[in-house]
Amino acid sequence: MPGLLKPAPQPPAGLYKKREKIFPKEVSGPYRRAKWIILCVTLGIYYITPWLRWDRGAHAPDQAVLVDLAGRRFFFGGIEIWPQEFYYVAGLLIMAGIGLFLVTSAFGRAWCGYSCPQTVWTDLFMAVERFIEGDRNARMRLDKAPWGPEKIAKRISLHSVWLVIALLTGGAWVFYFADAPTLLSQIVSGTAPFAAYGAIALLTFTTYSLAGLMREQVCTYMCPWPRIQSAMLDEDSFIVTYKTWRGEPRGSVKEKLAEPGIGDCVDCMACVNVCPTGIEIRNGPQLECITCALCIDACNDTMHKLGRAPDLIGYTTLKRDEEERKGAALKPIWQTLLRPRLLLYFALWAAIGIGMAVTLAGRERMELLVSQDRNPVYVQLSGGDIRNGFTVKLLNKELQPRDFILTVEGLPEARISDPLLGGEPGTQIALTARADGVETRHLQVRVPPAALEGKEHRDFAFVARAADGQGETRQAARFTGPPPAGDGG
């Protein structure tokens, strides 16, 4: 929908502009309450998760969520991902992408307004700022005031608290990549790897500067998502909207009493004062708006005091706004939400989720990988037997070491040997795969020439059976002999 997210009108400007300082006013209301809850839940998950434990026995880490880069394993509760299963993570990312499409076309930039880390940490930093420096007017006064003991003390304590939060944020991040209690004692005692200190320093710096200093500029200038969103909204998306037809022309309570044509907006500027991005929502939908809905809380507060109907600024769609203006009866909200586009997004999202859950639940805990030697493809032995070499990898995804018996099926009189171990070739080979690991062996399989029945190739299978009888896995392979006589090759 072209032109939906139009930039706000600007006065003529040069090539560069100074940042306009924003001092958002405190506001209360249902949306503010929801944002506090989301802030506590998301930050709580982030800071606490690495400290949760999960018993996996003696051969695996006991951290519930762990990205083990050195061991190339990803642990998430009872789920363990090997590098070759990384498509599960890719699937999660696709789900996150489609989920964003879904939420954006339904509720606009709900992600930006409520749960984006940039928004959440900025909100937290603003709360600290309000606690130390006071609300909007006090902060504006302090900002204008010359540097004195009070200003210095307040600024030092503000930035100190910010830095502590930023440090904890960076600290929490590194705990996802190593055993948290061990790493904490290493960090404190100065024996942690350099990468840990580097990551903490970097994330401390980014958190402090993005949430403390940059704030709305990250959304306006740096983030690509606002640009993508304008292509996703349509006239049925619920977005934070000022009902121009109801609010305009603006006038004071007295003026409205005198003149019936005056709208509901009393121009109290509450919506502008609470805006964390410093915009004027009454100019219509715009790029800078992250739809945090704080202006709804602010305006409803004023409307309530004046005894007027709420939601002069409210969540509505362009279509519903137009119908409301005409005085037409509004369709129920669920009808707007159950439109084909959203259903399609949801179906896709759910299908990927269900598909991943099903494959995850049914995936093999052991796997056999076989690759045939290429050079030489076959070896003729002096007794007449034909021999092929295979590199066999046995993946044991259980968290304890397991014994397996490897045999060959579909190849008469085949005998297997491990040339490194020597000994007489037999019909089977015993393998032990370590817990959560891969056993790689180079094995040789030999057959009498008659087993090939005059053909150059014969398909067969390697079969690995767990010695405890709990499961087996097989892998198709191909045995190659000399080309049949007269083949010319």
Partner: protein
């Protein structure tokens, strides 16, 4: 919705097909970041190798060198390898396969060395070709246990400068006139027969008599060869110089005497032991 025309001063004045371009100034700090990157580049040029010259780049104040880093990494890897094969030299070569970890490390090292010194004749897969033995099979001219392989690699084959070299010589029965052409044909027919191929029984019987006079000294009464002389087994399906009637006749007429370098003078004992382990591990080791 605001009316675009009311924001006329906020546009650049550019217009394409009715589409106007907003004049949205970028923030001042963006400009400072741009300058900061320029300063960063300047500092980088000072600290690290940067400006290319005829004899290499400017060294930079930190003395950083990726080549030195690679050298250090290679040295670290080699130190690790040394650790892995430590003790390999202290045990008899025949005992090596009984130490699985040592053997594994030796095989890995031997595989690398093989790729450098041996593939020219024996091929990358050690499968050889006509005139160059296949080392994967269980047919050995000079023996396939660790010690025999070790000796062969150390002293080579038919090296006049090495006293312990493997040496033997088959007479050129036809070319030197030891046997008449018809007798050569008969012997060839006999060899064709004992190797399990279709043969003319009458001619082969004649050849058998000549074989017992001329060939058994090296190839044995049953034709299965003798490793003391590097004489091949003639009864199996493995041929160094080809097993067809024409190939066998060519061999009996002219004889062959392949050579292999005595690696003792080129390679360290450690490398030779690794090569021995690798060749032994190919599947024919005894």
């Amino acid at each position: 919705m605001s009316d675009p025309s009311s924001t006329e001063p906020g546009t650049t004045g550019h217009e394409w097909d009715g589409i106007q371009e907003w004049n949205k100034p970028i923030p001042r700090w963006w400009l400072w970041i741009f300058y900061a990157t320029i300063v960063f580049a300047g500092v980088w040029v000072l600290l690290y190798p940067a400006i290319p010259g005829i004899r290499g780049a400017t060294p930079g104040l930190l003395g950083y060198s990726s080549r030195a880093n690679v050298r250090a990494e290679i040295a670290a890897v080699e130190a690790g390898r040394e650790q892995a094969v430590k003790g390999m030299m202290d045990i008899p070569i025949n005992d090596l396969p009984n130490h699985p970890q040592l053997m594994q490390a030796a095989v890995a090292g031997g595989q690398s060395a093989f790729k450098i010194y041996c593939v020219q004749c024996h091929g990358t897969g050690a499968a050889g070709s006509k005139g160059y033995p296949n080392l994967n099979d269980d047919d050995w001219l000079w023996g396939g246990d660790m010690e025999s392989i070790h000796t062969t690699i150390q002293h080579g084959i038919r090296q006049p400068d090495d006293d312990d070299t493997r040496i033997s010589a088959m007479p050129a029965f036809g070319r030197d006139g030891i046997l008449k052409p018809a007798e050569v044909d008969a012997v060839v027919e006999y060899v064709v027969q004992i190797s399990g191929q279709k043969a003319n029984p009458a001619l082969a019987a004649k050849g058998g008599v000549i074989f017992q006079q001329q060939c058994v000294a090296c190839h044995g009464i049953d034709g299965k060869g003798l490793r003391e002389f590097g004489a091949p087994n003639l009864t199996d399906g493995i041929w160094l110089y080809g097993g067809s009637r024409a190939d066998i006749r060519h061999t009996v007429w002219n004889a062959h005497a392949g050579v292999m370098p005595a690696w003792k003078t080129h390679l360290s004992e450690e490398t030779i032991r690794k090569l021995t382990a690798y060749v032994h591990s190919l599947g024919g080791g005894e």
